[in-house]
């Protein structure tokens, strides 16, 4: 059943790629991006383009710079050199307000989840919908659906710390998916999940991708890439060493 679903989603992903190919434009453009932390380079001269509607894996060993690259994309960091362009906007030229507006159009799954600890699971989800100005009923409806998708609709009024690591991760995924973003950036979204949940989650990303969302998934889990082949960027010690199809 589950397998069937992921195969279907994969197929749909291919179909979706065909459909958007006609109107390809870059969602992400990295031009010789370099980021250094106190003299130690975390990213060195990264150049890459991710088109609208693409599904891309970002992989590499621990410390390779995957999270750093994603942080540049949602502008939690700015590069020391080079340019980061997302959805046609040069991120270093944005003011604080524009950054917030851009982030509202993205769904980010953070490696450490970043759930609001003083708010319930339900409020964590409706919060981002509220920022989008959705009416209350719509917020509730969408939050419920998103949580049901990740199998947590019964934990709606629990607080994040009452959930297991894997459950928190699924809430983080639900929060990213619920806004129906143009771009999903997921940092180790399956890090705390069992293989079954991991594949289910990939199916959600595939579904979103089929609907036109650009998806970037950072993972060091090669088996995940093997099971869901897609374009894969391989980082090693801050350098982009391969840009290929499927697992390295």
């Amino acid at each position: 059943m589950l397998h069937c679903r992921s195969v279907l989603a994969k197929g749909l992903g291919e179909l979706g790629r065909e459909r958007v190919r006609a109107r390809l434009t870059a969602m992400i453009r990295l031009e010789s991006v370099t980021k250094t932390y106190r003299g130690r380079p975390a990213l060195v001269g990264i150049s890459a383009v991710v088109e609208k509607g693409e599904f891309v894996f970002l992989t590499g060993p621990s410390g390779a710079g995957k999270s750093t690259l994603l942080r540049l994309l949602y502008r939690a960091e700015v590069p020391d050199a080079g340019r980061v362009v997302v959805a046609g906007q040069d991120l270093s030229a944005l003011n604080r307000r524009e950054v917030a507006e851009l982030r509202r159009r993205m769904g980010v799954v953070f490696q450490d989840f970043k759930l609001l600890r003083r708010r319930t699971v339900g409020e964590n989800i409706t919060f981002v919908l509220d920022l989008l100005g959705l009416p209350e009923r719509e917020q509730q409806r969408r939050a419920y659906h998103a949580l049901r998708q990740v199998g947590l609709q019964h934990r709606l009024s629990a607080f994040p710390e009452e959930l297991s690591g894997g459950e928190q991760q699924r809430v983080a995924v639900a929060r990213a998916l619920v806004v129906q973003p143009e771009l999903i950036l997921a940092d180790e979204p399956t890090g705390n999940l069992d293989p079954e949940r991991s594949h289910e989650l990939m199916a959600f990303f595939r579904e979103a991708n089929y609907r036109g969302t650009t998806v970037v998934v950072a993972t060091h889990d090669v088996s995940l890439i093997a099971a869901h082949p897609a374009r894969t960027l391989v980082l090693e010690r801050g350098r982009l060493v391969q840009d290929q199809w499927g697992s390295p």
Binding site: Y74, A76, E77, V78, R96, R97, A100, E101, L102, R103, R104, M106, V108, F110, K114, L115, L116, R117, R118, R119, E123, T126, F127, V128, D130, L131, E136, R175
Partner: protein, 271 residues
Amino acid sequence: MRQHLWREVARQLREARGMALVAVLLLAVGGAWAMLAASFLQWGRAGLLRAASQTVVVAVLVEGANPALLQASVASRFPQAKSVALSPRELGQTLAGWAGGAAAEGLLPAAVSVTVPASQAQALGEFLRSQPAVAVVSSSQEWVDPALAGFSLALRLAGLLATILVFAFGALVVLVVRLLVLSHADEIAIMRLIGAHEEDIRAPYLVASTLLGVVGGAAGVGLALLGKFLLDPWVRLPPLPHTYFLLTLLAGGVAGALGAAVGTRSLPQEP
């Protein structure tokens, strides 16, 4: 934003409940004090001014002198004056409060109390002092002027104290908001990362503090009304003007909002 805003406001008030209560009490006591003091002092001053248009001069006679003779000579010199003879008994009653047993009836001389327009008080005093039958002269003007000055000073001091209390409330709000913001630093960072604007982050603090100010002001109004009710057997204060109520609520709200604005002026930053 409504639902999230109100829930966050409720959470913040719950988190700050001890200090929030102190802040509300400060404002309530300050507001009630200001209202009652202003009302009392204005009432007292108005009474004094009314009384001061007429001056009462009391002449205590030497032993054996006839009050009626003095009354007649006063009436001929000051046609507008109204004089009343005080028998030793009446004088004794008047003085009993502070002279005690010594002011027993029979040991006291007679006295004449003369009421004249304030403008003639000086001349009347001099006239009475020149009379051989008069032993002591005392004019109400001697204490009206210092009393008026005292009332003005008291009014200013009361206003100052109330202002200090409102400022203390504002300072406490700044402190509370600052502490809340610092303890929420991680959440504020996350809110930014998921697309919140600065005003989305500030709004709950602003609303909570303004609410605290308005509630404190309202508590002050309640306390003032209670105070007036409790004082009623001793001091018949005029009804508290509604402008006082509005002013107190407004002062509380503005102090709360300003406090929050200062407290959230610098939010934890991201790179």
